[in-house]
Amino acid sequence: MNVRTDAALRSLDAAVRTLSAGEQARARATLERIIVSVASIEALPPGATSSRRRLRRPLALIPAAALALIVGSVVVQGGSDGNAAYGSWTATPAAVTGEDLDAASSACRDKLHDDDTIDGDRARLVLSERRGDHVALLYRTEDPDLSAACLVRNPQGSTDVDRVHFGVGGSTGPVLQAPATGFTQGAVSEYDHGASSITDGAVGEAVTGVTIHAGALTVEATVANGRYAAWWPGPAFTGPVEPSGRGGPRLALTYDLTITDGTVIRNAQPTLPS
């Protein structure tokens, strides 16, 4: 008696019976990301892990630590020139002036449009900063929640732009809002065997400053439009470059937040997806 009804219902199945080539490709990519990200979950610093956290599917993130806000994914990019290239770096950022911004953003926009992870047409420049000869730009789409960090060498007052480093991190999930006096830890990228690193995330409305401690370096992040970002000439992780086992290297960053009333929250812990 139920057989015909069941058969009729099956004709209304909303699911697609066969995976498309695109779905199959994305499934394969997801598999690799899961395996990598699980190893990285256990690399998070104490207090940053929670069994109740919800995974948001990572996109093609690298060199960023994928799963922004969730997994301090560890991906180390090779390179060769080391710290010498960043001798002009400053712990406190400076504004990027008009012509410099035009030159840097032109190079970064090219990367944005070449990247198939983030919609370059929709990505909005939300933050820029200069530290010595290098300019960092942060582009965002809110839906999906993606950040594209672009670091270029552009000596002040010059239209020369080279050494363009670009990476996208984030998730397909909704943007995680930071509480008023809190922050979220977004992508963390480490380049060139730890010669430089870059990170970004969201801050609450009452947060006016983010100070990042990266080993011996203290970095004043740029805070604008509800986001923070900073880069520094040093590593973001401790441990071996090629980690063994599921532990992997550990994130070596701590954060201090400055609130509108001047209060400084030392060793602030990031807000994680619930």
Partner: protein, 200 residues
């Protein structure tokens, strides 16, 4: 196993690797993923907007990886176990809507013009429209019970496992869901559908 870092934009850089231990565990996970990803994706497609289904499947398989040692041995039981995890992920992400106990299950849209345009029998199209309308009037609990039997093709013990209830409770839910669907079809007043219900 090593996974190459991708998308490097570092000039003249060399890609390094993150290595992962437990190769046997990884192989088991890969095999399970290959076997069951499609089923989990379809389970999700029935319960969320198609644009979100792949995210749901990814969420579920992350949990699966971490709970791999709990996986049942029998293939059909594994499917039920996977669906249970996926359902839990969905309920968990929707808890902002209130403490949800069941998930609505979508059925295909049934626009008359589409069926007629491709030459389907008008009565058949009408049956499908009535059935789809009746389905949408079912409670989420009813849709869920029916879906596990009809779309996911699970036995009562397996479906019960997905829902975290006893097989007897599930059978009762399924019975009530079938009755409710029949009532909705009766209310629709479509002889063809009622006929469909009563034919052997």
């Amino acid at each position: 196993m090593v996974v190459p870092a991708r998308n490097a934009e570092w000039p003249a850089g060399q890609v390094e690797y993150v290595s992962i231990a437990e190769p046997d565990r990884e192989m088991r996970f890969r095999a399970l993923y290959a076997d069951a990803y499609g089923d989990v994706l379809r389970f999700a497609q029935r319960r969320v907007h198609p644009s979100q289904a792949e995210d749901v499947a990814a969420d579920a398989f992350l949990v699966v990886w971490r709970r791999l040692d709990d996986a049942p041995k029998a293939p059909n039981d594994v499917r039920a176990w996977l669906f249970g995890i996926t359902r839990y992920c969905l309920l968990n992400t929707r808890r902002g809507d209130g403490r949800r106990q069941a998930l609505a299950v979508r059925v295909a849209e049934t626009a008359p013009s589409v069926g007629l345009a491709v030459g389907l029998d008008a009565d058949l199209v009408a049956q499908r429209i009535d059935l789809a309308a009746a389905w949408r009037r079912l409670s989420e609990t009813g849709q869920e019970a029916l879906s596990l039997a009809v779309f996911e093709d699970l036995s009562s013990p397996q479906a019960a496992r997905v829902l975290g209830i006893t097989p007897a409770s599930y059978r009762l839910r399924l019975l009530r869901a079938r009755r409710a669907l029949r009532r909705q079809l009766d209310l629709a007043g479509s002889p063809s559908c009622m006929q469909m219900e009563t034919q052997p």
